[in-house]
């Protein structure tokens, strides 16, 4: 595989974009798609504004045909603001939402506001970890926690019945992604993968991580990574699309896989925009991944995707085909969605569907067996926020999506976040952890009567 450091500039320069083109062509929709993806997730009961819920995905609803901004000159190619209306008071209120840097104290967490289905319980598992993001459980029960906005990986261990939070590694650059196998913790920074062997034996004095792979671009946009180890014992490493809506070169918009020593890297998935979560179906061993749809096309589309990989080298359409049935207003000309693999499920517009895991535990009721739990971080580029919850996707026998239902809600209050879920992690005992990078905390969800310390 050829991996360029970055051919982005040349690539961007070849892309001509006009704001007017975007506005006028936003309706372009591909009617040739054979299989419409599953319907959009039902709105979370906690979402304050049902009116803003996107309608069912197919066919693509018509966004308001806003008059193209008359005076605004074209944005530079690749700008993350392409498509953003220059003359809209509503859109001008939208900006990326940054979490407070200081973690919330355990007794100030919004736990009492969080809702789970009847029979389930939620409690605080650990707090005080600024920007807590991706999670992995070690063989000995340590929970490792990555971060994106700071430089740390945490280790949450159980000692004498008490949970202890330690900084396992610091001075890392956006160490969002973690994987664990046979005693070794793998850490994905923005542009390199490293590992710590026998990590749980050395929690008090951990060695510095050693690099195993660094042939990765350094783009900030979608540069942070989720990683995982598949049933084939390979390490899977995504490289996001380096901007909101830009073409991919040979090094971007893909998921790679490699041996656990970093050798033998190859492209496994193409046409991926920005996945921050994936897992493997325990029955079919197929990889499923979430993918975040582009910004600034409209309030209602495109939706974030749940994808299923059937074979190596499969192309999922970004940036040409969105949510399996909409040709991109800029890049879709001359393309057909039929040429790309459509998502098996849609997860709502701009909801930022991130971490996901298949549930294989025994604690939850049988209806959840092999269902996918998906953390939706929540939208920012949408007037009425959507997401900020954990949903559960139940599958049909053939691996397609039967339903997507709310599971954990309550992080959205008056169109503001009181927390934002990033990742889910099934523990060996069948309980489920949910990380919240807004508050720097992890919650634990159990089913049935539990001895739950500290629960209200």
């Amino acid at each position: 595989m050829t991996v360029y450091a970055s051919a982005r500039q040349a690539l961007l320069a070849s892309v001509f974009v006009g704001a007017c083109v975007v506005g006028a062509a936003a309706q372009q929709s591909d009617t040739t798609t054979a299989t419409p993806p599953a319907a959009s997730v039902t709105p979370s009961p906690a979402a304050p504004a049902p009116a803003a819920t996107p309608p069912a995905a197919t066919p693509a609803p018509a966004p308001q045909a806003a008059a193209p901004a008359p005076a605004a000159p074209a944005l530079p190619p690749g700008s993350p603001l392409i498509g953003r209306p220059a003359d809209s008071v509503a859109a001008a209120k939208l900006a990326p939402v940054a979490p407070p840097p200081i973690p919330t104290a355990a007794d100030k967490l919004p736990t009492a506001k969080l809702k789970v289905p009847a029979g389930f319980n939620i409690e605080v598992y650990a707090a005080g970890m600024a920007n807590a993001r991706s999670m992995r459980e070690g063989d000995k029960g340590t929970v490792f926690v990555g971060t994106r906005l700071i430089d740390k990986v945490y280790a949450v261990s159980n000692q004498d019945g008490k949970r202890q939070v330690k900084v396992l590694a610091s001075g890392l650059y956006r160490p969002n992604g973690l994987a664990f196998k046979d005693g070794t913790l793998f850490i994905a920074e923005l542009s390199k993968i490293s590992k710590i062997d026998k990590v749980e034996d050395n929690l008090d004095n951990p060695p510095k991580p050693t690099t195993i792979y660094d042939k990765l671009p350094k783009d900030e946009a979608h540069g942070w990574k989720f990683i995982g180890i598949g049933p084939d014992n390979k390490l899977y490493v995504p490289v996001g699309q380096p901007g909101n809506n830009v073409l991919h070169d040979d090094a971007h918009g893909q998921i790679r896989r490699m041996n656990l020593d970093g050798s033998g890297a190859e492209v496994y998935v193409k046409g991926m925009r920005n996945t921050v979560g994936f897992d493997w179906n325990p029955e079919t061993k197929q990889m499923y991944f979430t993918d975040n749809g582009r910004d600034w096309m409209s309030e209602a589309v495109p939706e974030d995707e749940l994808n299923r990989v059937s074979k190596a080298g499969e192309d999922f359409g970004a940036p040409y085909c969105l949510q399996g049935n909409i040709l991109d207003p800029e890049f879709g000309w001359g393309k057909s969605c039929a040429d790309y693999t459509a998502p098996v499920g849609l997860l709502g517009a701009h909801t930022a569907a991130l971490g996901m895991r298949f549930y294989t535990g025994k604690m939850f009721p049988a209806a959840y067996k092999n269902a996918i739990f998906i953390a939706r971080h929540g939208s920012w580029n949408k007037s009425q926020k959507l997401g900020g919850d954990v949903v559960v996707a139940k599958l049909n026998k053939d691996g397609t999506v039967k339903s997507v239902e709310p599971f954990l809600t309550g992080f959205l209050e008056d169109n503001k976040y009181v927390g934002r879920p990033v990742d889910v992690l099934q523990m060996k005992d069948g309980s489920m952890l949910v990380s919240d990078d807004w508050n720097g905390a992890i919650y634990r969800i159990t089913y049935g009567k539990q001895k739950v310390a500290g629960k209200k």
């Binding site: 961007l12 005076a71 605004a72 000159p73 074209a74 944005l75 530079p76 190619p77 690749g78 700008s79 993350p80 603001l81 953003r84 220059a86 859109a91 001008a92 939208l94 900006a95 990326p96 939402v97 940054a98 407070p100 840097p101 200081i102 994106r148 906005l149 700071i150 430089d151 001075g171 650059y173 350094k218 900030e220 946009a221 979608h222 540069g223 942070w224 901007g243 909101n244």
Partner: protein
């Protein structure tokens, strides 16, 4: 030299022993460089007046954690508690807004204003560039500091808290950075 002596004296006076000091007293060493009335007189040193407290909190946190590297600020912030960071951020927000040095050349101002629309600076930083929440006030910031900051975001030598500014700056040329800074430093 006298300024240096003043700073040293102020630094000494802000030792942990003097815990009962008012926030105004504790902030005096900050303002010795950043300007007592919200407007900085020192090259490449930002004016802090009326800065958005959520933004200042993030920057102070990043200085303390060595996520944003500038040795004097890393040193100043290293022993601050979480509460200190909040108190300083809130206090800084109460300082008067920075003031523009001059009105600027009308033709150049008009051309640069068009650039701020083109790049949608006003979308996040507000139409009057006063900022909001985690998005900083950039109106009447020092011109040299604006140029420096935009260049550092563009080449990623200043790591943002998130990727937004690094991403936004990619398509903006150095000549345009100079014009944007000229305008923002003087905008009414």
């Amino acid at each position: 030299m006298r300024r240096f002596a003043v700073i040293v004296a102020l630094l000494l006076s802000s030792s942990p022993l003097a815990a009962a000091e008012s926030i105004a007293e504790r902030a005096a060493p900050c303002l010795a460089c950043h300007g007592e009335k919200g407007t900085s007189e020192i090259e490449n040193t930002p004016s802090l007046g009326a800065q958005q407290p959520a933004y200042t909190l993030i920057q102070l946190y990043m200085f303390r954690e060595n996520l944003r590297i500038f040795a004097p600020m890393n040193e100043m912030a290293k022993d601050l508690t979480d509460d200190d960071l909040r108190i300083f951020s809130d206090y800084i927000a109460t300082l008067p807004k920075p003031v523009a040095r001059d009105a600027g050349d009308p033709a150049r101002m008009q051309a640069a204003k068009a650039l701020t629309s083109q790049f949608r600076c006003d979308s996040c930083h507000n139409a009057d560039f006063s900022g909001r929440d985690n998005i900083p006030r950039i109106a009447n910031q020092r011109e040299d500091y604006l140029v420096k900051t935009m260049r550092e975001y563009k080449d990623n030598s200043r790591h943002g808290y998130d990727a937004t500014m690094a991403d936004v700056m990619q398509g903006i040329s150095d000549a345009q950075i100079v014009e944007l800074a000229y305008f923002l430093a003087r905008v009414k």
